[in-house]
């Protein structure tokens, strides 16, 4: 029995994996040198990165922050780093940062911008973070009127009466909704509110203003510029175009012929025309159709058309979300006895919107960047309008990269935050079907 064949009693310790399958070497092989093409691209990519860093680093290291003109910047750089040195001249940003951010808004009134911006953050918090009490959303709803008053100034009664018009609309809607249905009640409410806005607001405002004058100094639209302008146009268009886009998407799916053809016509017309054409329409053509003494605010005209533009795109993005919903969801809603608007609100839209989040957010990011196009109708956008105006100062003429880099960094911060938020939202709302 002793002459038994060898039996292993204990396990061999596991051998370490081969060098090529572990650690940095594996990572490099898999990610950077997986094949001839990959290796070549890696080498090229690194070469380019090194060249870029090598070219930009001295320029960035030799930055000058305090100077009164570009020539002074150059003199400082040459004095410190030798006659051939080049350096970034951030002094232009130091001297004109307020114009890049706020345009020509009166400096004494800057506090209003800070309050408005802080208010914007407060107002979007309850929208973004669902853990906060839902009642705070009423604050977000009121915010646009407060912001409008803060930014443009004037009598406080204007926004309050505008709000009263909305209250009238809501009152009429609630009173008639049961008898006439959602659409007709909303329509009647809109007519009532419009009559109020057009005929009643001005006399009442004048009256109230004489009794209790509460007003901020007025700021004209042509003093808006820079990122203030980009944010005013971008945020307004984003906020209005989402509900408008939802309505258009629903209209496009509707069985009612007129609603459907109007929605399709609107969406296809707006999407078929470049934004720049719409901007020229806003700035030039509209003036022809109005009496020559009316001055319809240019920013308002631009905001309206940018909103239309973005609403058409949002409508198509949401239609994609609607199309992705299984038929069973609609049928389940019908089976529960929900009417059309209840079904949309409780079952269809929450799912369709969730699916559409990436598309909606990229539309918004695109829209925010597109606000720089308003430079072509003479508005002072941060990228071209303000840069051109600042460079026209003989002290800063010929300065090239610095304003672009400054503006690009700020745009990146805004857009990257939007993109990150959308990814967070997607993860949070994920109800995995996989």
């Amino acid at each position: 029995m002793s002459n038994t064949s060898f039996v292993r009693k204990d396990m061999l310790p596991p051998a370490p994996p081969p060098v090529s399958q572990t650690g940095a070497v594996k990572w490099l092989r898999e990610n950077l040198f997986a094949g001839p093409l990959n290796s070549a691209l890696t080498v090229l990519g690194f070469g380019f990165a090194i060249w870029l860093i090598q070219a930009a680093t001295p320029w960035l290291l030799h930055s000058v922050w305090v100077a009164d003109s570009q020539n002074e910047c150059r003199a400082i750089v040459q004095e410190r780093w030798g006659p051939d040195a080049t350096g970034a001249c951030w002094a232009i940003i130091r001297a004109r940062w307020h114009q890049f951010l706020f345009g020509f808004y009166p400096i004494d009134e800057y506090w209003r911008l800070f309050v408005t911006f802080a208010g914007l953050l407060l107002a979007i918090l309850p929208v973004l973070a669902t853990s906060l009490p839902r009642k705070l959303l009423w604050g977000s709803v009121l915010y646009p009127l407060v912001a409008f008053w803060l930014l443009w100034g004037g009598s406080v009664w204007g926004p309050i009466l505008t709000l009263a018009g909305f209250a009238l609309w809501a009152g009429v809607f609630l009173a008639l909704q049961v008898r006439l249905g959602v659409v007709v009640a909303a329509g009647v409410g809109l007519v009532a509110a419009s009559v109020f806005w057009i005929y009643a607001v001005e006399p009442i405002e004048t009256g109230l203003q004489s009794v209790l004058p509460l007003a901020l100094p007025e700021v004209d639209s042509d003093q808006f510029g820079g990122f203030l302008l980009a944010l005013v146009i971008g945020v307004t268009a984003i906020v209005i175009s989402l509900p408008l886009g939802i309505l258009l998407a629903l209209g496009r799916q509707s069985d009612m012929l007129i609603v459907k053809s109007l929605s399709v016509g609107f969406i296809e017309f707006i999407r078929g025309v470049p934004l720049i054409t719409l901007l020229f329409t806003a700035s030039l053509l509209l003036q022809y159709f109005l009496p020559s003494d009316t001055k319809f605010d240019l920013i308002l005209r631009v905001v309206i058309l940018v909103t239309f533009f973005s609403a058409a795109y949002i409508a198509e993005v949401i239609r994609g979300g609607l199309a992705a919903l299984p038929r069973g969801q609609y049928e389940a809603a019908d089976a529960l006895g929900l009417d059309y608007w209840q079904a949309q609100r409780l079952i269809i839209m929450p799912q369709a919107l969730k699916i559409s989040i990436p598309g909606i957010v990229s539309t918004f990011i695109g829209l925010f960047k597109d606000t720089t196009l308003v430079a072509f109708v003479g508005l002072m956008d941060p990228l071209k309008g303000i840069s051109t105006a600042v460079r026209a100062d003989i002290a800063w003429k010929g300065i090239y990269w610095e304003p672009y880099i400054f503006v690009a960094v700020i745009f990146f911060i805004f857009n990257f935050s939007m993109s990150r938020y959308s990814m967070y939202l997607e993860r949070k709302l994920k109800r995995d079907h996989r």
Binding site: Q70, N71, R74, A95, R96, Q99, G103, F104, I107, D220, D222, Q223, F280, S283, L284, L285, Q287, Y288, F289, P291, S292, D293, A375, F376, V377, G378, L379, M380, G385, S387, T388, A389, V390, R391, A392, D393, I394, A395, K397, G398, I399, Y400
Partner: protein, 338 residues
Amino acid sequence: MKKSVFFGSLVMAGLVAGVAGASTLDDVKARGELICGVNPGLTGFAAPDANGNYQGFDVAVCKAVAAAVLGDPMKVKYVPLTGETRFTGLASGEVDMLSRNSTWTFSRDTELALEFVAVNYYDGQGFMVNKNLGVSSAKELDGATVCIQTGTTTELNLADYFKANNMEYTPVNVADDSEGQQKFLAGACDAYTTDASGLAASRATMPNADEIVILPEIISKEPLGPAVRQGDDNWGDVVRWSFYALVAAEEYGVTKANLEEVAATTKNPEIRRLLGLEGDMGAKIGLDDEFAKRAILAVGNYGEVFEANIGTSTSIGLARGLNAQWTQGGLMYAPPFR
């Protein structure tokens, strides 16, 4: 340029629809504010300063008109207009007048239905090269690469000039002046061409200004001037004579500083008419007789405006050249005030 055809037709549409309103002079008086279309940023001619106030040679014309019509040079609303929107903006009534370095050409005067009331700056297209290129005349630029702003008349002038002189060139297209300057400095092109006033301003800010020369040839005529809508002749007269008041003031030696003194002492009937001491010049264009006096007091005479904004005392350093008074061998020549 196809663009100009498109905008031209817009302008025509505007004229059919728009001009029915009241006279511009009445509108401006009723509004209490002059709306003036200006360049959003052109060194020395029009640009907002660090406080957001528009300054410059073209802006001074707006101020002079506002002072003449409304009595206050500050009552101007400046509307920045881009190259694309300027003429339509004027035609549609968005602005009352344009003082935006616009070249007076046949087609703009006729087809676009503008009325150029005067020329406030005689410009022309020139070339800028580096000294070490060894070129002393534009005729030697055969085979050169030339930085040129796309979509402008300078592009067409350049093509015409090289064709006429039987030379070849390679265009390097740039979008605007700052890019042109940057490309030229980086050596992307041998020569940079744009209006001579722009070249001089660019050269003044270059680190190696001593090594840069502006070639003597001027290859185009660019008479720049304020413009108004055709068909409102009285308003055109107001703008024209508000400007000529500045030119005449320089000719007769009336400055912002000595105006009151001259007014008190002068016997010269022409000066007395200019300053509203004799005759009823203002009444003939719907203003009071002191309109010219107010314009001069607001911005100074033509020479003062020139020196303060673009002249040799500024860092832009333009010489008067063609823009000197006719008595000094230039082209500035105000018709008689009588």
